[in-house]
Symmetry: C2
Subunit: 281 residues, 2 copies
DNA sequence: AGCGGGGATACCCCCGAGGTATCGGGAGCC
DNA sequence: GGCTCCCGATACCTCGGGGGTATCCCCGCT
């Protein structure tokens, strides 16, 4: 199977519509129709059922979509990492990605510790929106990532644990609930006038619910200070708190583990060095 | 990048010789030369240095070889799993692979436990030579594998631990060393007339050394019984021992962990069921 | 029945992958 | 030094298939 075929298939599967997929791919509809038909013939399987509305995936098609996406990401990663290795002969920088605005203290320690090693290579730090770190690692835009369990999908990577912490509820300091010694997650979610905010999923859309739609920590803390929301955060967020905010420990929130992750077959000396430095923190 | 280009590149990199690579690929040498040159041009990097003897990988080329192999395996996996899903619409069997001749008791328990679940799907068991399980999982020939740490490379898979055991030295029962209460690995390797056997690597070749070349457990136990070798095995191998063999515990051999492993993005109900059954053992 | 949206077919073109023949150049070898 | 292998690279040709335009066919909706 050629990657071109896979790209075509994934486009049609995602759009559920040959015409739209063709547009997205920058080509005409008929050759795309033919390519899909040919792929089905070669695999000896129906990947779609043709409905009057468009194309619907079959079970077999679903399998190919899952596997094909992973395969395409691997091919992209191969190309990107090769290009990056070519740019700076010998001493190509290693790209580390982390969630914008989190773990800054730990990251600083890590970068300092690694930079002090003999033969340390340059490290490009790329801050990206929550949840994108794993994607970047999978498709070769990054070489190492700082991830957070249980929020990030760690599967398929090699990881080392760096730190584990409890989560706490942040709420406006004047609020009656702010005097509680501790709380459960259920209780925190049920405070009547303080809804928990909603965070965007990977595609940028928001789940349904009552809470405000928010993108970053600064926003949410401001809203909490205004008495319009409360939020569950890892304990280390305490470092960023100003006046007007109260902290209540949560008894049953999942512990958050900060991890350093890298692709399993990585042979880069820079990655190995960073991981070693992280382990020694 | 197309998979065809990647396949060509990997062939040339492995053969270090355009002519031989072309032969292996079933094509003529010139188009392959051109394809490689074109790939280098498109990536804007030298992947090989041309020597009078053939082609030698550059550092950049090394990167592409590592990443490219993984990418090709992923594409192959996508195609194979799709084909398998197509063969048996709805109820395609899940393929489980394990090392020939090991863990038979544990496997039997696992298969029984899973078969007892409601909605259990058929399980094809594929026994393959040691070390091949991870490869089969990577390229889609299998869906689940029984692996053994630290022997198998587990990176890139999701795993659950099933059991951990010590390793022991097996030697002929008449031998003077057989009366020891315990031993270190170094001592076991230094017994003068009882060399440790050599096992084949993934490509079928044997490492250099004094011990006999062996392929399977039956062979090696026979040789031990004849007083020509000794061997380090997990404790569970005791179950298969007949007369004429003595067992000495090793104090510093690494513990062997039996794992169930599956590809991280697996969505197969059969895989999930097997893993669940394994966890409940 | 008429129409509109969506995929499939028919037919054509041309790019590029692959083949054969040949070249150029480095390494050994008398 | 010149001869000869043994490489990979170039030149040149062929042809299949991927991509384009025009059009068809089918189905659902009004």
């Amino acid at each position: 199977m050629e990657t071109r075929e896979l790209r075509y298939f994934v486009a049609v599967a995602e759009e559920a519509h040959v015409g739209r997929a063709a547009e997205r791919l920058g080509m005409a509809q008929p050759p795309l129709s033919r390519a899909i038909a040919q792929l089905e013939r070669r695999l000896g399987a129906d990947l779609f059922v043709r409905t009057p509305r468009g194309m619907a995936l079959t079970g077999v098609g679903r399998t190919l979509l899952d596997e094909g996406r992973a395969a395409l990401a691997a091919v992209e990663a191969a190309e990107r990492r090769t290009r990056r290795a070519a740019e700076a002969p010998g001493r190509a920088p290693v790209v580390l990605t982390a969630k914008a605005g989190a773990s800054s203290e730990l990251m600083a320690k890590l970068l300092d510790a690694y930079a002090a090693e003999p033969g340390a290579v340059a490290v490009d730090v790329v801050l990206s929106p929550p949840g994108h770190q794993a994607l970047m690692l999978r498709d070769g835009r990054a070489d190492v990532a700082i991830l957070h369990r249980p929020f990030d999908d760690v599967s398929g990577f090699d990881v080392d644990e760096l730190a584990t912490e409890e989560q706490v509820l942040i709420l406006p300091s004047g609020h009656p609930a702010s005097t509680s010694r501790s709380m459960t997650v259920a209780e925190a979610g049920a405070i009547p006038d303080l809804p928990l905010p909603r965070w965007p999923s990977l595609d940028g859309s928001y789940p349904d619910g009552p809470g405000p739609e928010l993108r970053d920590l600064t926003q949410v803390l401001q809203l909490v200070r205004l008495g319009r929301a409360s939020v569950v955060l890892p304990e280390s967020a305490r470092a960023n708190l100003r006046d007007g905010l109260a902290v209540v420990p949560l008894t049953d929130a999942p512990r958050v583990t900060t991890l350093i992750a890298w692709p399993p077959h990585s042979t880069s000396a820079g990655v190995a060095g960073l991981v070693r430095a992280a382990g020694a923190l």
